[in-house]
Amino acid sequence: MIASFAGFGLGLRKPHYAEFLETKVAVDFVEVISENFMVDGGRPRRILREVRDRYPVALHGVSMSLGSADGLDGAYLARLRALVEEIEPLFVSDHLSWSRIDGFNSHDLLPLPYTREALELVCANIAHAQDVLGREILVENPSTYIDFAPADMTEWEFLDRVCARTGCGLLLDVNNVYVSASNHGFDPLAYLDGVPHDRVRQIHLAGHSQGRELLIDTHDQPVPHPVWNLYAHVLPRLGAVATMIERDDAIPPLHKLLAELRTARRIAGAPARAAA
């Protein structure tokens, strides 16, 4: 079982590198995109080492492709393992999605049908990844724009079974729940009540945008009120979790993200943390 970490953090993004390295930012941890640092050397690796000296780090991936029907990429896993061994992260996470098939990589988080066949395959891939990495991983619920029919179970039932069978934890992205619920017409509270609460180790909070026909998980907006409300709903049901604000586009000054993080602390009833 993955150890819990109670804290509040931010995604580390380039415009904020200097502040994170030159000051002690009021966060309990930072999360980085694993692939950005799975390079041979140079500035990216040096920055990550220095950040790791100052803050606990969570590694969050986008390319493991846990749902690929032709299995995982061994070269990818080897590189990730090397990074994990060097950084000793709080968590290693990736998405309940797929990106790659037959040597083609979409570089997008593509949706899975929630069928028994997909469940078997995702569980096998997670077990393989955990074997190679030598540790259990967190699996994040995706924002989805396609609801493949027919399905044998809901997404939250799928996640419950994945966690039970593989021992993995859950990275619960509350914004993704809201986006998918809006796009597919299910009740987000039923989702939040249905996930395995004892497996949640990390929470993502983010914003989204209204596309032409669907809500899009753009990560370019502040966390909106409906997502804060869902966070307030689920938090009392969970044990100790690491909460973070995830912003990937239209990145504002750091103090604005820290203000959002203070909102998360207030909802959680956690004391504010001063910068050193």
Binding site: E35, M38, V39, D40, G41, G42, R43, P44, R45, R46, S63, S65, G67, S68, A69, D70, D73, A75, Y76, W98, R100, I101, D102, G103, F104, N105, S106, H107, D108, L110, P111, L112, P113, T115, E117, A118, L121, T144, Y145, I146, D147, F148, A149, N183, G211, R212, E213, L214, I216
Partner: protein
């Protein structure tokens, strides 16, 4: 439909906008979602190329560059887990689209090589003070792992530098004889230097394991005793100053 078939159909939709595949996946019921993923796929690749080839884009202009991006996305599907790998074939696409303008593919090669060097393997350059004990008769120079080399037919290095500084680029010129370029990273800065064919061949030979004495002999053969030895010394000094040499071994077991 099996998961494998579903994923192959999704690939066909993303890469070729295959309408039959889209129909098998769910047709109009899922059309809005298919459009979202089609857009995500293309925007990711286009953004990757735009970010990777800024100076090339400056030179050929936004509209031509956009056409090249569209052609490349049609021609080359991404295969690696990292998007950093996707730009590697773009200079070849530019070469196909602009066969009469060799400087375009050369500028793209420079953009690409600098990006590769930026995140390439770390290495500590040899300090001149460490040369005191070297047995030059058997010395083998080991070059920095970020070293990259290619031929040049034009003054693309001068064009690239001017564009990077926001200055007016010089007029395109074909070099009077084939030149070359070397790219490497010194500290955290990716750098390049225009070189001649003689230095290119010297670097390729040394990288392949030719001892320094062998390089001297080759240069003496090509240039004569005095000029060959002088050239070898000059190259050694330049490579040390550039931080290209990371170690020297004797090659004696």
């Amino acid at each position: 439909m099996s998961l494998l078939d579903l994923q192959r159909d999704m690939r066909a939709w993303l890469a070729r906008e295959d309408a039959a595949a889209a129909e098998r996946l769910g047709g109009t019921d899922i059309a809005p979602g298919l459009r979202v993923h089609q857009n995500n796929f293309r925007v990711q690749l286009a953004t990757c190329l735009e970010d990777s080839f800024a100076r090339t884009c400056d030179w050929i202009g936004g509209e031509d560059f956009h056409q090249a991006v569209v052609a490349h996305v049609e021609r080359v599907s991404p295969s690696s887990w990292t998007l950093d790998a996707y730009p590697r074939d773009f200079p070849a696409t530019l070469g196909l689209l602009h066969p009469a303008d060799p400087e375009i593919a050369e500028l793209a090669w420079i953009d690409l090589a600098l990006a590769k060097a930026f995140a390439g393997p770390d290495a500590v350059p040899l300090a001149p003070a460490e040369l005191g004990e070297v047995d030059w008769d058997h010395a083998i120079l080991h070059l920095t792992p970020t070293l990259d080399l290619t031929d040049l037919a034009t003054n693309s290095t001068a064009i690239w530098s001017a564009l990077a500084e926001g200055a007016e680029p010089p007029p395109l010129q074909l070099l009077p004889e084939m030149g070359a370029i070397l790219v490497w990273r010194e500290g955290e800065a990716a750098r390049f230097r225009a070189i001649g064919q003689l230095e290119l061949q010297a670097l390729l030979s040394v990288r392949a394991g030719l001892p320094f004495s062998g390089l001297c002999a080759t240069l003496v053969e090509e240039l004569g005793e005095q000029a060959g030895v002088a050239w070898a010394g000059q190259l050694l000094g330049q490579w040390l100053a550039d931080g290209l040499i990371v170690s020297i071994t004797t090659g004696i077991a």
